[in-house]
Symmetry: C2
Subunit: 478 residues, 2 copies
Amino acid sequence: MKKLFEPDGIAIAGASTNPTKAGYVALRNMKEKEYPGNVYPINPNETEILGYKCYGALSEIEGNVDLVVLIMPARLIYNIMDDFDKRMEEKHDVKYIVCAAADYAETKTEEGIRRQARLMESAEKWGVRVIGPNCIGVIDNRTKVDTTFVDTGVPFSEFGEPTGITFISQSGALASAILMEAAGRVFPVLYNKFISIGNMADVDFVDLLEYLENDDTTKVIGMYMEGYRDGKKLAETLRRITAKKPVVILKVGRSEKGSKAANSHTGSMAGADNVYDAMFKQYGVIRVETIDELIDTMQALDALPLPKGKNHFLYSQAGGPGIYCTDAIAAAKHLETPLVSEETKERLRASQLPMANICSPEGYADITASATVANHVDGLKIVLEDDAVDSVTFITVVPTFLPQIELANALVEMEKSIPAEKKKPVYYCVMAGEYTAPARKIMEENGLCTFNTPDKAVKAADNMTRYALYRRRKAGEE
Amino acid sequence: MKKLFEPDGIAIAGASTNPTKAGYVALRNMKEKEYPGNVYPINPNETEILGYKCYGALSEIEGNVDLVVLIMPARLIYNIMDDFDKRMEEKHDVKYIVCAAADYAETKTEEGIRRQARLMESAEKWGVRVIGPNCIGVIDNRTKVDTTFVDTGVPFSEFGEPTGITFISQSGALASAILMEAAGRVFPVLYNKFISIGNMADVDFVDLLEYLENDDTTKVIGMYMEGYRDGKKLAETLRRITAKKPVVILKVGRSEKGSKAANSHTGSMAGADNVYDAMFKQYGVIRVETIDELIDTMQALDALPLPKGKNHFLYSQAGGPGIYCTDAIAAAKHLETPLVSEETKERLRASQLPMANICSPEGYADITASATVANHVDGLKIVLEDDAVDSVTFITVVPTFLPQIELANALVEMEKSIPAEKKKPVYYCVMAGEYTAPARKIMEENGLCTFNTPDKAVKAADNMTRYALYRRRKAGEE
């Protein structure tokens, strides 16, 4: 699968000069990301698009082409594949086709099925692997390959370095939405790789999982799934991978009606949801319920070390949000209350204002609205130093009189002062809205994980802990 | 309570020239909102702040003062109340005190309790009502009163007209967070009134509810609650109000541990959560679980008509998000599948592209990623015209080639074309992120209700329907 993500030469059938067309946006994405390799737009009516020289046909491109992207209308597939055959007879170069267009077998029409068959006929003849059709394409932000036609509305320069998160989506629309949601966060999230697999005419979940298993830059795998034909194979693959790296899945078709809708969508056999659910539980897959939870959990897994155990401390600057969060922790399945030492309590008290509430109830501190930056940071460090604490949710509302940039920098410094082997996950809830965006941005840029409401922080903490416990149990069995 | 929200003259003890102090931000908020009445900062060391003339003491203010705001450090309460007594002996004018500062009885220290007693002693002597202490103040965005010291980070000019939503919060921090969260939305939400009640030394939930019951500009009441001492009175008041207008409550202390934390916070007897829960259910109160759900539900209740019944249609431009949403609808307690007429199905088919999925399963349409603006709007109108449909969730991912501004305007026009008596609630899910913010802003400005993920739209739809069914049942009983 390496050449898919690091191709030597990309040809784009359906390239366009019209900024509202997919065949333009895909080229613009590649241009904006400064993909360093050769890009060959195919469009017989143009000489160049966005500075890339245009070609009349795939067979006319002189240079090497590892990857062909099909974004032209599906009805043109017959001509395109005839020309593809011509090229392959001469050059034998293409290794991958990403067929982004829709109107193939997913329509369940005779014509749609025939088109997909034509695509696959040539691909199989030449041993070329196909992604799609009916997908939005493939991204590798490390090699700067981006065949998608998604405009996130956020300039590429505002993203940080690629994360360790790789995402596979069975729905193109959901893939777009997730790319856009992640881009719209306070600090835009750049995925490591992003693969929309559409109809899975050839390359499917398992093919990709097998590749990602040994892809060192992929630290966390996320998936949106409607169903998969070979449950046994999927289960075996997942079991092997979750022993090494976390897999987070948003699987739809929980309800009977959702399952029916899934069948009529990608035509995939969704299968009984409880079978998937049991399999995910057994094999340490983190199943999430919402899009927010999916993105939050993937980010936390990427940014933070796994906790050693269940003991979760709540360190809050605000009473109301603290109680709200206490309820969320009580409802979490994998979090328990740590009993910190008397020494820690003493040190905590000494580090805080007199009205601070220390450990009443246990595992909880309310440092109050008057807390200074030093109160915020010093107390958190003391909590993290207690052996009874495996992870912490930190909450602050950032009152007007609290300098938020100073707070953000002090928290970053404190985190940096902890040696890697002693690091514990802290879920920073910095409420709320636009006002605290500057602080959150600094924190996220420096690898801290922030949330805007306590319930979201706790969901991520619960999911991380669940996975950590699975890994510990697995390691014990070996 | 009228003079609290429409005071003739506001004095602010603790006014400051320091932009990081509460006593400055409160003045600045009033200035920015262009409060038309007299504002009298009290600060013996200044001659004017932000253009307002400063006074050395409350008793020195010549003009009428209906409302006194206390933002000075709590230890000064003795001097302030002595001077307050002096003023009242001479002028008898003050009707309300908003005591925003903390460090009163909530600290459970002797000194804190004594301070609060001193405050209440004078207030009771003169028949003056007190809000607080330990709160963030009071807002009325219609009369432009804003005694809070919350900086939302969003210029006031970016908000629309005041909504019909009035919010009461027992936690100052949660109140700030909700103000800021709402301000940070794609189209900033301006509350009608906003009251942080803190320690409830005097004015409490029931006092405010009784006033809001007959406040015509308040259409929806939202509350954050930790507990209330007189459950019976609260229940009676809520029962009376929910027969007229919706009440949405985020009540914390669900868990035993949360309940303990609540007790040690505001000192309020949180009481057994299941008692509250049963009371809320019986009296038609909409209990929500998260901050997001709270804000979404209040906004939907404010912007949309109540549905006539449970039948909820899902109209989606995107397969994956459609299936995801189908699961959410199946999990909702108060939504059912409508069976639209054959005529509606025919009309829908005729309005859409050939590959559109119409009513398979029932109550569901997937108009596909290729849908034009006209496909989006025309089909939705047809669905709304079917008598079997009480409400609709609409989903679009807004592909690059779909002009989002044109779509937003067309949806607004379509909604405007429906006569008021035939209006049905539509929950518009416009995924995702920053890219679609321009479209969502236009829609929200024109009274449409938008969401960024389908699960949130469905939560709001479920809550609206639950309340509509309660109202119908109550009306039937009379």
